[in-house]
Symmetry: C2
Subunit: 337 residues, 2 copies
């Protein structure tokens, strides 16, 4: 029964409809459009960041993980802007109609993610098209009017903070690829425990948007963005947009226990952590005067925010290694083209 | 120079940025998210309807026409809901990086469409992915709070109206396919002038969302939706959602001069007009008492609205032909699966 293929768009819409519960303007997906009644005195914050099989996930990844990631990567942007999630629209394109079992599992993942992020599906579209499975979510959040935290407003002298840990997903991608092929080459080379491997792969499959930091970022940061294409590349982007440069200390960049284990085996791995994509952490500029207070308050959250350097009145990003030498990068991060 | 391929996402973003002029919350596409300050007392109306090469257009269609259609199909939904366009986000996926010439032309088409529909690009995303060129637009409009016109609220006794003319795009698709292969088979069979053919193909390539009817629909219609998957199928959807049925007179369905010319050669073509997709006209339910007034006011717009039947207290859609016999349809319209 559950291996049955869904034969019409209406079948899939019927399965998706419960995800709109609580969102009056979604009409249980029975209308052509959705409406949203904004809170007076708030701005809406909007983002669209599609995910596609072969780029952001593997088509045989667990459907609930695919769903989680599709929503999480958009919520990560909202968090970095200081916004609170409200709702999302989702356009899906299938190369082949999914089985009912796949769709049910996918929707379970969306439901978990919605609950975790406190938002609802309000509309969307599904169609068939050759090419990889693609999920285009448009996320909508809000902030008190005029308070969205921008990318282009970092100032020389501001402290540079990142949340969570950096570089896990880059490691995970390699481990996950090998696991799919039944190999443990890198795990053995890096002498990683199964616990380390599971931690890293969860970081890749189920990124955790840092929504618990949104209010703090809004209150303290002069600029903020989420990290999705590699720390160095995204930091370069913030610098370029803001007309400043950055000095960071590589040994201050927060690493997971698993990443530190890799580093113990391969001391040259650090640059790859700093340029790997899919971190979904927050990069924030915080004025020097409030940096300590910000760090203290952030320490009360699950991941904290870690000071890694300072914005400077100069162009470019310079990273210094543990030995004080400037690190070189073959490539600063991921370009979508 | 213009045949150069765009080698980075940044190049394309730079070309797209001028489309945000006038939209403060877009930050010229230099930020990760956009913001929108809602008008007090208004609801936002949201829609996402992606278009893909091979489904909604051909990959070698003029890039400006592809851009126009990508935006127009979403604006058509807003118009049917009685909403006024505000802004849109656009996620594009390219199988290969486009040439600069293609991108420039595409953006020209978007600029024309934005001006025609009175809205701005405020954000988006571009990436590369195998599979057809895909453009996912999320359109945002607004209506005075609580006035979005729904699909599920047609009542038995309401008059059924459609805007413009029906079935043109279905004819156009056949002519356009043949023209791309250097054939004129259907044009000759149907004895169509070049003017007819050009009119029909323009209907396929450059649909005109009926935004000039939005305020009238909002003021008079008890239910409304846009026609994209075929008149009969979409009417069935409105009936099902509203718990009513519909009687329509096929000879009251408005047809273009070109479609009438086809009908003169092939009197059996009518059902195909009523089930062909891509009309992008408005289907509205209007209470009997105000139907005449609505029709009169709509007559002052470019296309008018044409009464084709009545919603009834029964299930299903019945269409009567010119001879009074009930028309049969092999298939009521387009399913996306």
């Amino acid at each position: 029964m559950t291996q049955q293929t869904l034969t019409s768009e209406a079948d899939l819409i019927e399965l998706l409809a419960p995800l709109t519960a609580g969102a009056a303007g979604a009409f249980g997906l029975t209308d052509d459009c959705a409406y949203l009644s904004p809170r007076p005195g708030y701005d809406l914050v909007l983002k669209t960041d599609p995910v596609r099989a072969g780029v952001h996930f593997f088509s045989d990844d667990p459907p609930d993980a695919i769903a989680w990631k599709a929503l999480a990567v958009n919520m990560s942007d909202l968090a970095a802007k200081g916004a609170e999630p409200l709702a999302y629209l989702m356009a899906m394109s299938f190369p082949e109609p999914p089985t009912r079992a796949w769709a049910v599992k996918f929707i379970e993942g969306l439901r978990d993610a919605q609950r975790a992020f406190n938002c609802h599906l309000i509309g969307g579209d599904t169609d068939r098209s050759p090419g990889p499975l693609s999920i285009s979510i448009t996320a909508i959040g809000d902030v008190p009017a005029g308070t969205m935290v921008r990318r282009a407003t970092a100032r020389a002298g501001d402290a540079i903070f990142v949340s969570g840990t950096i570089g896990d997903s880059g490691l995970a991608l390699r481990l996950h690829k090998e696991a799919r092929e039944g190999r443990r080459t890198s795990q053995e080379q890096w002498k990683l425990s199964d616990e380390h491997v599971n931690h890293l792969i969860a970081r890749y499959l189920r990124p955790q948007p840092r929504l618990e930091l949104a209010a703090l970022v809004r209150a303290h940061a002069s600029a903020s963005m989420d990290l999705s294409d590699g720390l160095i590349k995204d930091l370069e982007r913030m610098c370029k947009a803001s007309g400043v440069g950055a000095d960071i200390r590589a040994d201050a960049v927060p690493l997971s226990a698993a990443a530190r284990a890799v580093l113990a085996v391969d001391p040259h791995a650090l640059p790859t952590f700093l340029t790997a994509g899919d971190d979904y952490e927050i990069l924030a500029a915080v004025p020097r005067a409030s940096a300590a207070s910000f760090e203290g308050k952030a320490a009360g959250t699950r991941t904290g925010m870690h000071r890694i350097g300072t914005f400077v009145d100069r162009k470019g990003v310079a990273a210094t290694g543990t030995d004080g030498a400037v690190l070189r990068f073959d490539c600063s991060g991921w370009d979508h083209f």
